[in-house]
């Protein structure tokens, strides 16, 4: 496989760093791939535009940061304005319709998904907003299987929350299928 470089961006508290870790961990522990994850530290992690970088590959990764992402996820307007110029030509830009208003055309597939709205309508709890977004990302990129994500979640969260997360992940995958077709 080609190296896939992803940047998850948004505001502190939205869970963008958490999903980056979950995705990378799933790739390493359950898909036999190599992954590196890093993130911004400092005030940005508690509000303002924060980001987390993930590289997934089947060969060794040396430079661990992402300069031009193949996949860029922006969950706030501020993050979108700050990061959309770095997307790799031909890459994939995923934004949430509630939080981001697309202002510019970029040389990438732009996918505006109603992630927040769907989560609130179908589940009614915003804590799984990030997992729903991750569902859309894995469906569009085929990087890891949904089952691998669920295995990581099983190790990380109380069992009472597993079903809600599974539902959010499936909703995200469904959203991606809808815009794919």
């Amino acid at each position: 496989m080609e190296k896939c470089r992803l940047v998850f961006s948004g505001s502190g508290g939205q869970g963008v760093i958490t999903v980056a870790i979950i995705l990378a961990e799933a790739a390493v522990l359950y898909e036999n791939l190599i992954a590196v994850q890093s993130q911004v530290y400092g005030p940005a992690a508690r509000g303002g535009a924060t980001r987390s970088d993930v590289i997934i590959s089947d060969s060794e990764i040396h430079y661990p940061k992402v300069i031009q992402p193949n996949v860029l996820v922006c969950l706030t307007q501020e993050a979108y304005i700050k990061f959309y110029p770095i997307i790799r030509p031909g890459g994939l830009l995923i934004t949430d319709t509630r939080y981001v208003k697309i202002q510019r055309k970029v040389d990438a597939q732009q996918k505006e998904l109603p992630i927040y709205r769907t989560v609130m309508e179908e589940i009614g709890n915003p804590i799984v907003f990030n997992i729903c977004m991750l569902g859309a990302v894995i469906r569009m990129t085929d990087l890891v299987k949904a089952e691998s994500i669920m295995k990581v979640l099983k190790d990380r969260i109380p069992s009472g929350f597993l079903e809600m997360n599974r539902k959010a992940l499936n909703l995200g995958m469904k959203l991606a299928e809808d815009v794919k077709s």
Partner: protein, 383 residues
């Protein structure tokens, strides 16, 4: 199926795993970014295995606590970053003088002073060497990936016990915070050096500073069966203060020579494509990842480029660097400071005028492009 021995963790956590594997049983520290996860994780992992974790009031006390605990027979460690490492220098000198094994982790951030807490730097290389006063020798090791963080942490404990010396693990923010895979070695897979204890029995005179024939000093757990003196003053074989010129001379020679005479045994390094390299990059810690990226990118494009990754920074392996660089047309030191290892490399090679630096000192992790831009200038391809 999940392999229980594979972990996806931060570099700081890999350091904790290495320390526990090596037999750490006492940690005292004061949390500071970007080393905090080491203290955080050990605060519950150590008690789980019967060890002691103490959060001290500051880094001065942390150093004092681990020195005392080591003297009583524990394997000890503390972890900090630049500002805390500055505070540890006085007691670090005491540990050197009294020859008490201990491991000090410095996950480097930008300095001087409180500097830039959440960003990367490699500015403490010389502080590790000469931060404490007086002639002395010190061991300082670093690593560029989590497997090597684990291995060098185990090595640090082994070296510290073998030579009865403090060992500094000089990691940096990028390595400490990034997450990647660590494959945990099985128990027994890596050799461990245990405390060399004296065979002198209770009631028989024990000379704490009388070396064996091989130069090593067996220890007696403080508070155990022997009473003896430990002092930062120059001391004789009983550990009592002495200003006898011969005693002073012999002790300082001993402290320096026990490290200097073993520079090649202590030297850890990795090399990539050096055999036919016309240009050699020398790097260490997280910078070595960017350097390796450049080498792996340019090799298939026909550039005879190699990388010498240093893990042992002190004692600096001058002979090894000299030998590896003998056929190189250019040497480029890649680091995130104003040229601390650059200076050592210039002193080591035959033609110091052919040694250049590719560095970054703005808190931003050095990129492969930063390095390639310097290579283009050196090769006369313009800016």
């Amino acid at each position: 199926m999940k392999n229980q021995n594979i972990k996806f963790i931060q570099g700081n956590e890999a350091c904790v795993e290495g320390a526990l594997y090596a037999g750490l049983d006492f940690f005292a520290g004061y949390p500071i970014t970007p080393s905090t996860e080491i203290a955080e994780l050990l605060s519950y992992r150590l008690p789980q295995k019967g060890g002691k974790f103490i959060q001290m009031e500051d880094e001065i006390a942390s150093m004092g606590a681990i020195i005392g605990a080591s003297l009583t027979g524990s394997k000890v460690m503390t972890a900090t970053s630049g500002p805390g490492f500055s505070l540890m220098q006085e007691a670090l000198g005491y540990a050197i003088m009294t020859e008490i094994p201990c491991v000090i982790v410095n996950v480097q951030r930008g300095g001087p002073s409180t500097g830039i807490p959440t960003h990367v730097s490699q500015g403490d290389v010389y502080q590790a060497r000469w931060g404490t006063h007086g002639d002395h020798a010190i061991v300082t090791i670093t690593a560029s990936n989590h497997q090597d963080v684990f291995q060098t942490t185990v090595d640090a404990f082994n070296i510290s016990e073998t030579y009865r010396t403090p060992v500094i693990l000089l990691y940096d923010e990028v390595i400490g915070h990034m997450r990647e895979q660590l494959v945990l070695p099985k128990q027994g897979e890596l050799p461990l050096v245990e405390r060399l204890r004296t065979s002198v029995r209770e009631g028989v005179n024990y000379h704490p500073y009388l070396p064996r024939e091989d130069g090593r000093l067996p220890m007696s757990d403080f508070g155990g069966v022997h009473r003896y003196n430990v002092t930062g003053l120059f001391h004789d074989m009983w550990g009592f203060p002495s200003d006898n010129p011969e005693v002073v001379h012999d002790l300082i020679r001993h402290l320096v020579d026990k490290i200097r005479n073993n520079v090649n045994q202590i030297a850890r390094f990795k090399e990539y494509y050096l055999e036919d390299a016309k240009c050699i990059l020398i790097s260490y810690g997280s910078s070595a990842r960017s350097a390796r990226h450049v080498v792996e990118y340019l090799r298939p494009r026909g550039e005879k480029l190699g990388l010498l990754e240093l893990q042992t920074l002190w004692p600096f392996p001058h002979d090894i660097v000299n030998e590896k660089c003998v056929n190189a047309k250019h040497v480029v030191v890649v680091e995130m400071n104003m040229g601390q290892i650059l200076r050592e490399v210039k002193r080591a090679v035959e033609r110091p005028e052919r040694v250049f630096i590719a560095n970054r000192i703005d808190g931003v992790f050095i990129t492969p492009k930063d390095i390639r831009d310097i290579l283009r200038v050196i090769q006369g391809k313009g800016v």
